[in-house]
Each structure stands twice: as structure tokens, then as C-alpha cells.
Symmetry: C2
Subunit: 206 residues, 2 copies
């Protein structure tokens, strides 16, 4: 792509560093900004800079938070004895949206992935183990995505917790509510049969 | 979507103002920036701000340019007697990529679209008519997209040029090179038959 302006080329190059944004999309976004009033661009730039420089993570669960302790960790209504282990803030938001969970969270910040150079030391695992060692946590719910990396991370943490008094569980894998049996992949269908639940509890959930 | 941080919410809101970027995608992009070194965010913000404040349009063709006259308008190799009328800089880049055109351009900055509140006075039409009035332009090629708005704009300009000595043409509409006849829409196929070209000239083009 040849540009008639260095400034334009620069902006498009920077924009296209974002995941899923190619050069063409970047050009479209940048041209859109040029058509908008100048404030739009400065609002966007400022919001990004403010976030990057002022970003703070909850001292307890490592979720993004403007305060020392995040709202969830600071709330007296939440059950401190249950901790749900998730990859990032999007998972916290997804689970919070269900309004079904009253425990706390622990945000790892990623999954163990040797391919991408992410080891246990790059994740918030040590602080999780320390939290469990203090003795207030009774149950740990693993809610990582069920990929090779997710399973590896679950297992690594599980091994670190050996000898500590804590129950571990993972969120249920099965067929999505409303999905057709025939279109479900075999692994999911297989797991949903192995991990079947008493009919009474499925009535209660509805 | 509920956010645990005002800074994060702000950044996501600003990002999701961009076309084609919803809240979820915006969150993904912003979280990506958070994982990158701080320079990445400041490079992006700076590049956008620099572009927005330093942007300059070619005095002759209104293309984006860092200099008073853009490279194309300033080049002595280009044929001043042919002017191709396009919507925005992306069309200039697309036509330049073909290396088939040696004339100049005129960037309108949009199409007449009453639905979006874009009238002739919002586009660079007056300067195009003035350019033609000076008498150096012999041919005007309309290269707007063939939508209702594109056709309206073409026709509006055509009427403005009445009485002036200039040939007008539009780029050829037809079946894309390599496409199958049976999958072509009727309008395109119909036009390609009406506007058929001598076989000899199609051989030359190859």
C-alpha cells in the first residue's frame, strides 16, 4: 500500500498493529476519524493514554479496577470462601452477567502457553496459591477455556495446591441451552453424558 | 456491559465509536493494548493526533498530502488534460495500483446523499467546475461507485458542466476478469452486453 502522506501512513501502520485490524480496515478507521470533528480523535487518544498510564489492578484478584480493591473483592455480600479462577476481565464480566455467582474471582492474566512464551511465572498463580494457604478459601472453581493451554494451566495450579485443604471444581461442559443434539461435537456430547446431573437439579436451575 | 473501571469504560466507549467496532471488539482491542508495552499506546495516540492536527489536503485535487500540491498533481509526467473524479483517497490508491492511469484526480470527499445530509455544497464540486472552466481539462472520468448516490453525484456534476468544452466518461461496468457468466447479476451482465467493446481492443488490454 502506497500512501500520499507520511502522517496518514504512520497512523494506519499504528492502527493495524491491533489484533484483527488489517491495513485496509485501519485506513477505513483513520479516514473515518478525519471526517469527524477533531475532538473525537483527541477523546480517543486521551482515553487510551489515560487508561494505559492510570491502569490499576485489584490487589486481591488482579481484575482491572480504579480502586485498591475492586468492587467485587470489597463487597461484604460476596462469599469469600469460593474463588473462581478466570483468564481475564472479559470472563469476569461474562460470569457477572449471569447473576448466578456470589463468590470472588482470581484473574490469572492468561494461560500457560509455551508456544507464546507464557510460563507460570508470567501469570498470577503464586498469589492464588498464597490466598489458598491463608485458609479462608474452601472451593476453587476453574473457569478457563477448555483448550490444551487451559487444561495445562488448571493442572499446574491443581498440582501447586497439593496438600492444601481446598476443594477444586471446573465449570460444567455440555450442550448449550437451546442447542440441537445432532449438531454437537462428539467430545462435548460425550462429556455431557459422562457428567450427567440428577434431573431434579436441572428442574431447579430453570 | 458493566465495567469494573471508569478508565476502561471510557476507552472502550471511545473505541467503539469507530465504524464496525462494537463494544466487545473495542474491549478486546483495549485489553490488547494493556498487555503491550506502554509505548505502543502512546505511539498509536500520537500518530492519530499528529494526523488529525497536521492533516493537509492537496490544493488542486483535495487528496490527502503532506505538501501543498500532492505528488501526483506536482508530477510533470502526468497528463493534466484528463481528470478522474473519485470519492476518496482509497479510490485514488486503488486506481494508482493498477498503473494504467496517467491523468490527474479530483477527490470529492463523498457522494451526494440527502439521507446522510450530504449535499453538493459539502463536496469539492465547485473547485472541480472551476478547474474545468480554466480550459486545460479535456476529459473527465467519473469513477464513483455505481450506487444511487454515485449516479446522482455524477449527474449533478454533469449538469454543472453544461456549455463547457469537456468530454465526460465513466469507468466501464462489466463482468470482473476471471468471473463466471452464470453467477453475474443481471444488471451487470446487461450493461456488459450493451457496452461491448471491439474484440481487437480487448486483445490489446491483455
Amino acid at each position: 500500500m502506497e500512501f500520499s502522506s507520511k502522517l496518514l501512513e504512520n497512523a494506519v501502520n499504528e492502527m493495524s498493529q491491533l489484533p484483527g485490524i488489517g491495513k485496509r480496515t485501519a485506513l477505513r478507521l483513520v479516514l473515518h476519524l478525519l471526517k469527524q470533528p477533531e475532538e473525537r480523535t483527541s477523546f480517543l487518544s486521551q482515553a487510551l493514554m489515560n487508561l494505559r498510564s492510570g491502569i490499576n489492578f485489584c490487589a486481591s484478584c488482579h481484575n482491572i479496577s480504579d480502586t485498591e480493591l475492586c468492587e467485587i473483592c470489597a463487597s461484604p455480600k460476596r462469599d469469600e470462601s469460593i474463588v473462581c479462577v478466570v483468564e481475564d476481565i472479559r470472563d469476569v464480566m461474562a460470569i457477572e452477567n449471569t447473576s448466578q455467582y456470589i463468590g470472588l474471582y482470581h484473574v490469572l492474566g492468561g494461560k500457560i502457553s509455551p508456544m507464546e512464551g507464557v510460563g507460570p511465572q508470567n501469570l498470577n498463580i503464586a498469589s492464588l496459591v498464597n490466598k489458598v494457604k491463608k485458609g479462608t478459601v474452601k472451593e476453587l472453581i476453574f473457569a478457563l477455556s477448555s483448550t490444551m493451554e487451559g487444561d495445562t494451566t488448571n493442572f499446574y495450579i491443581y498440582r501447586q495446591l497439593e496438600g492444601l485443604e481446598v476443594t477444586t471444581s471446573t465449570i460444567a461442559r455440555g450442550i448449550s441451552v437451546g442447542d440441537e443434539l445432532e449438531y454437537t461435537d462428539e467430545v462435548t456430547l460425550g462429556r455431557s453424558i459422562l457428567n450427567r446431573v440428577p434431573f431434579e437439579s436441572s428442574i431447579k436451575a430453570n
